[in-house]
Symmetry: C2
Subunit: 259 residues, 2 copies
Amino acid sequence: MTYCVGLLLDDGLVMASDSRTNAGVDHISSYSKLHLFQPGPDRYFVLLAAGNLATTREVVDRIRRDLDRTTGFDAGGAPAETLATVHYLFEAARYVGRVSREVQLLHGPALREVGAAPEATFILGGRIGHEPPALLLIYPQGNAIAATPETPYLQIGESKFGKSSLDRFARRSLSLEDGARLCLVSLESTARANLTVAPPYEVVLCPKDWMGPSQRLRLDERDPDLVALTESWETGQRRAFESLPAFAWEAPAGGNAAT
Amino acid sequence: MTYCVGLLLDDGLVMASDSRTNAGVDHISSYSKLHLFQPGPDRYFVLLAAGNLATTREVVDRIRRDLDRTTGFDAGGAPAETLATVHYLFEAARYVGRVSREVQLLHGPALREVGAAPEATFILGGRIGHEPPALLLIYPQGNAIAATPETPYLQIGESKFGKSSLDRFARRSLSLEDGARLCLVSLESTARANLTVAPPYEVVLCPKDWMGPSQRLRLDERDPDLVALTESWETGQRRAFESLPAFAWEAPAGGNAAT
């Protein structure tokens, strides 16, 4: 399993992922699930991937191959669809969805024979031209939904454990740095509850006027920033728990009793 | 869906549940999922139920019917197995598991014809005689696991959203009241993230030397204790988030910057 989260803020995009992959409990390793594409000065894309690791790997490889074939034309003579040729981010999402479907259709029958699933889910963030940054979640079926002002975050993978902090704090008005802290808190809550999610965590911060990330972090478990953040969150949680109000029947001498 | 949680503490048992049930998003209502049985002066049982509502309802009805037939004997002449006749809590769990299997086998074929599932899962807490309180999770297959000193909590239903606070704070040494606050925090995190979990919340506190609950709470969303607890937790969460340390690159003028 894995856990990836993206935030669409007034100030830009924040996207984050863990790096744990597993095929059963005895085959655990670390793979990046955050992929940056900058195929031209007028565009950039950040792709987060969850699901079958072979599917997501081949999708990323096909995207890169399609970009290498910059002079390619399809059968009708139109420029072949790639991340370099699409005009809108929703077209980029449709393209990634199509590539994902192709890979799943290729390997699906053999996988299903052994009870495995070829599915993969993606979050795509980025900008093209003068459009503001956008953030989309691409389903295994190839269709996509977008982050909106009302729902500024998207999650894929093991998403339930880290959802409550997002519900509480995810607002369009957060700074990119607060957004990054929120993503890390959400990742930490998930990693704490589920062995299949773990550091290193990757985080990108993409200011709304930039054509790419201003910061790209890779925080392993000994990283001073991550240690400080985790300890601070832990302390804050403990304070919150210890200051919960007493029930009416508790004696005033109790540590939590109000006077 | 539903969410129930039980804690096995040095001081006794705390068990809690929400009251929301749903069959699709347009058929939502409120049912108690916390059932108390006190079939004799030497024993008590608290049963939390999640899964198919008709299954859990019939399991509870059968348990009560079996208790009514206090003079019953099985075909071999031994006293029929009921919550009044078992000698250990694990035998009570096996009995509930058997009743659950019987109900599932009765209705399963008809349910599966329409794509519905008959499964139900239970948490059983209680005491018999001089044994200390115990807490078991009964699977739909009828087998059961127990809470232990290392894992003092058990969850059923929509368990992921509320797990991180349990992982953080669930310790055998918690007071019953702190355990109740922890269960309510876990319920609130779940209700916030998932429409199918909602108040009223039911909570019982069972001191280790009692033969039943010392407190039985039913907190609807306007209950002053629940409102105070939720607001306090919300404030504590916000303080924890706002006091997270700044990243190295942030200007000292930033609200979170350390000096």
